[in-house]
Amino acid sequence: MTNRAEMTRRDILKSGAAASTLTLAPGVTLMAFGGTAEASSRADAGKRWGLLIDASKCAADCNDCVTACKVENGWGSQTELEQIDPEQAPEWIRKVTLRDTSTGREVSAPVMCQHCEAPPCVDVCPTGASMKREDGIVLVDKHICIGCRYCMMACPFKARSFVHAEITDQNVQAPRGKGTVESCNLCAPRIDSGRIPACVEACEKAGHSAILFGDLKDPDSAISKALNDYDSVALRADLELDPGVRYTNL
């Protein structure tokens, strides 16, 4: 028999998470990466994960980061896209090509959740499902998302999608749920096991290395050094949300 007095806080959190999983999804084992107490405890408050995207290295005709994200996180499969209106289709990461209206210069870059330090989506979420981990990753806890979409109203980057229909052929390591909101989670499960996000890896493989991933809090990390050496911008810098995703040569 468990001596209640000896139960640690972590045990209680674990049992609570397990209970809510059972209640909310009977018969289904959902592994909510990053959202559960166990995964949260892996997030290191001493780090802040971020991306630096070099638009000059990003090729307009390359879509490898988007494809890698789709495969890794199980969204936007051919079957899913055939069954749903394009306006309702998920879009965790998208490629944009921009033309500077004054100079005419054209650049391409991927846009995903900007993992803000002060995320409006987290502020407005009524249940706290939209959350920021200790290490700066912003994501949705699909177990307590009620599907109100207020976070989508609040996001200045159109980074979030609502699951409009039942999903078949789910990716086991990245479960998604009809009626909840989802977005880039910076591949939190990969980061938690010491790997880099799928988009970053794909961009390297394609020979562009346009996306640099690293710890913004570590002054010796490659990303911190690059941010020190080169001019970079944050999207919608006027809102002062301090995004963890920065762009250079945009």
Partner: protein, 399 residues
Amino acid sequence: MAMEQTIYRELKATPGVWQIAALLLAFLAAAGGAWFYMEHHGHAVTGMTNQIVWGLPHVFAIFLIVAASGALNVASIGSVFGEKAYKPMGRFSSLLAITLLVGGLAIVVLDLGRADRLIVAMTTYNFSSVFAWNVLLYNGFVAVVAVYLVTQMMRALDYKWVRFAGFVAFLWRLALTTGTGSIFGWLVARPGYDAAIMAPMFIIMSFSFGLAIFILVTLTLLKLNDRIFGEELLKRLGRLLGVFASAVLYFALVFHLTNLYATEHGGYERFILMDGGIYTMLFWGVQVMLGGLIPIALVFLNPSRSSTILASILVVIGGFAQVYVIVIGGQAYPLEIFPGYEVIEGFHEGVVSPYTPSIWELMLGLGGVALALFAAGVGAKVLRVLPTNLSDGNLAAKG
């Protein structure tokens, strides 16, 4: 001066009452079916998208929630501001305020992606969310107004308690509409929302929409039981509606003027006021003309029983259009994510998002209206909230 004693009696079940009840139940059944269909297939069967994330159901819901706090004004004018002529209408005004709110909330809840997780919304609060505050404000409103209604119905109670409960309810309704307006006003991301004036504008909108609905519903119920609604009293309510409708226009004017002054909002203003298609049409044609200038002209230039009724109907239509323009127009206008750049390729970047509501959304929205009206009718049937006589006797007593 002799004032007629107000006698409150339950609504009698005449054939007309049964017919309207049956009609409302049919709408409720249709809404139930629509909800079940949307719940089963997901929001894919609606017109809502990842761009227009809140659609027609939200327009209905916000309209009803805003009107709810406004419907309470008649009671407040009576017991807080001491206008004797309004006192006989106080009970039903309180009841209608509760049912309109419940109707609106039902729509919001049934539109959730996971309506089955309502218990999560009730038990897990993120206190930095305006939405979470609103959950408390809405539940609190029902409780506060219910207490206010009970105090009004207790003849033996010292009147100071009615005044006190009315005062608390009045403050609460101001907070509630502030919260509803702030759902939009505090969204910095979208140029059509981000404006502090949203909260006071929603308050004045509630005064106008709520009074219009109160006039129409009360008149219908009294008529169904052949009870009198005095012409002078109606004209007086009509004039008040005219004042409120003018104030709504004024706030809309200030909102747009402020936006026009700020260059960064110029694009949004151009969209709503000039080349926004359906939104421009709804703004000028329905909100300003049909729901503003015409009813104002009616009640002030040609005050009569029919002018008040027509003005009330027009204010409801105009108000609905106004909420539609705010909620949907604000989302349809593109987000400015890359200032200084033209987007050549992307995902609905820099273009106006289309929205065509589905029949299911319409059915759900109308179901919320039906729920509010049905509940108000049932309330009037079982409680003594409607006076047997709303003749002009009380106006005369006031002089």
